[in-house]
Amino acid sequence: MEITEKKSQLESISLKKRFRLSEYIIEKIIFLSSFLAILGVVLIFVFVFREALPVLTNPEVKKEASLKLFFSTTIWQPVSDLPRYGFIPIIVGTLKVVLVALFISIPVSVGAAIYTSEFAPLRIKEYIKPAAEILAGIPSVVLGFFALMVMASFFQGIFHYTMRLNALNAGVALSFAIIPVIYSIAEDSLNSVPRSLKEASLALGANRWQTASRVSLSVAMPGILAGIILGLGRAVGETMIVLMASGNASILSANIFDSVRTMSATIAAELGEVVNGSAHYSVLFFIGASLFVFTLLINSLAHLTVGRLQRKLAGKI
């Protein structure tokens, strides 16, 4: 009798121990897997830079492509007897497309965010937000296809320019991808403005537009700015839309009706045909590394701005 009791007691103890051990292992696995995101960022950094490094260190490569050469020529001509890797035309090209995209997407997305959070009846609101999410869900290759096949001819019919694919066409298509990004963040920050502030403004006799523009908008401004910054980051890095809609000719000009080649599209268009380890290959990775660093900076900036909004709200409530 006593023996069996002891036995069962022992069993329960060892059971408990085995349990603890498996739990310990699982918790360690969970802990370790949480490092994957950090590991991912570090690995991207290391391996994109590793392939780009010859541009800075290898004397053979530096004869053709070095930091100095990137900015001392205004021609991007990687495939020729005398290859020239001038960054200026592709940087200007990127800027042109991105500016067109921001010029359209900022007013549209911020305006729509104000409408949804301040004026729209609740029932309409429930349909508008999913619509913006669905726009965000359209793959960028589909937007690029639409710009290439439909929009380009439509714009050519209106403006009568010679180059069918150009910065305007790519910029407008790019804005379709940026609008949902800015819209959702702007709408979130407008929604986070405390009701008491709006009610106080209305009670003091301000009408709804005055309340929206001077109270809600000014309180939510850091959040909206963060959305715009993130939209900018997305616009600079977006590839397929620009690759398909911009014409991909590296023309250095200020005209938005000229074909352009952007940084991201250059990588996508040329990497398939380069020899591994050649100067051209390293230059393309160097462009990628620059894009990576740029988006890291942009993200950190947006993060800081959102932090400001949170502090602002915390201080005001």
Binding site: V142, G237, F292
Partner: protein, 301 residues
């Protein structure tokens, strides 16, 4: 004065309404145009046969098959990793520790990295470093050290890690604290509580993240261009080291490199429509599940 103010007010309110309508118009014009031109070619033959005559005839079955295989491999890799990261962040981590902040910072930044940079990373890390290294140590000749479906899927998995982490964490947050405390008070251990109480309740939300990442994975082209997608293949991928055809890449190739654009146009529109239906359907399902979860959450408080 008051009348003037209200006039100005209605004018600007009208402008914001216009902005909203522009977004809706963009959505309807794009989807409408593709539906209109694409629906004529959609048939059983189109989705079940391989391309013929230089992509001017036949169907797109290999591209559909490749896309499905790609996103399945991707989700197998990213779902456990993303959910475990979310569990750590929400259930175990101290909110203000440096490690937690670093993980969150990394997740945020990973979400902002351009997709083409992921493509470069896949080429530089998975193919040139891991793949070539594996071939060398195994004494093989260019089996792993070349573009294939496995490297493409892993590249996409890393790209989608933030999507899964963020939505899983939101799902965990939606589980009320009281249920956790009740379980712990009854003597369950922390992991038992998470596995039997928290995770089942968070499942719909986690599923939303999985569906969203599948949808995004199916639509991304830039990361797979150099890591495994092929222009045309006479066979279907059947092992991890095979290349594959993919819907988005197929659209890109047909739209930009076709020798006869007019002849491929119907097939091109059909492919875009299939891709759009696939991604938007997944999005609809995700939005639907999430709105249901959120409604439940509001009721439970």
């Amino acid at each position: 004065m008051k009348i003037k103010a209200s006039l100005i007010g209605s004018f600007f309110t009208g402008l914001t309404l216009l902005a909203m309508l522009i977004i809706l118009a963009i959505l309807f014009i794009i989807v409408g145009n593709i539906l209109w031109h694409g629906h004529q070619i959609i048939s059983w033959e189109f989705i079940s046969q391989a391309p013929r005559e230089g992509m001017t005839a036949g169907g797109i079955f290999p591209a559909i098959f490749g896309t499905v295989a790609l996103v399945l491999l991707m989700i197998i890799a990213v779902l456990p990793a993303g959910v475990m990261t979310a569990i750590y962040l929400h259930e175990y981590a101290k909110t203000d520790s440096i490690l937690t902040k670093t993980i969150r910072y990394a997740v945020n930044n990973l979400a902002g990295v351009p997709s083409i940079v992921f493509g470069l990373f896949g080429l530089g890390f998975f193919i040139q470093f891991i793949g070539v290294g594996m071939d060398k140590s195994l004494g093989l000749e260019a089996v792993w050290g070349q573009p294939c479906i496995m490297w493409a899927a892993l590249t996409l998995a890393l790209l989608n890690l933030p999507v899964v982490v963020v939505s899983s964490e939101e799902a965990l947050r939606a589980v009320p604290k009281e249920t956790r405390e009740a379980s712990l008070a009854l003597g369950a251990t922390k992991w038992q509580t998470i596995r039997r109480i928290v995770l089942p309740q968070a499942l719909p939300g986690i599923l939303t993240g999985a569906i969203l990442s599948i949808s995004r994975g199916a639509g991304e082209v830039a990361p797979i261009m150099f890591t495994g997608a092929a222009y045309f293949l006479p066979y279907l991928p059947h092992k991890p080291t095979d290349q594959f055809m993919e819907l988005g890449y197929h659209v890109y190739v047909m739209a930009t490199q076709s020798p006869d654009v007019e002849a491929t146009k119907p097939i091109l529109y059909g492919t875009v429509l299939i891709l759009l239906i696939l991604t938007l359907l997944l999005n609809f399902v995700a939005i639907f599940i999430r709105s249901k979860v959120r409604r439940q959450m509001r009721q439970s408080y």
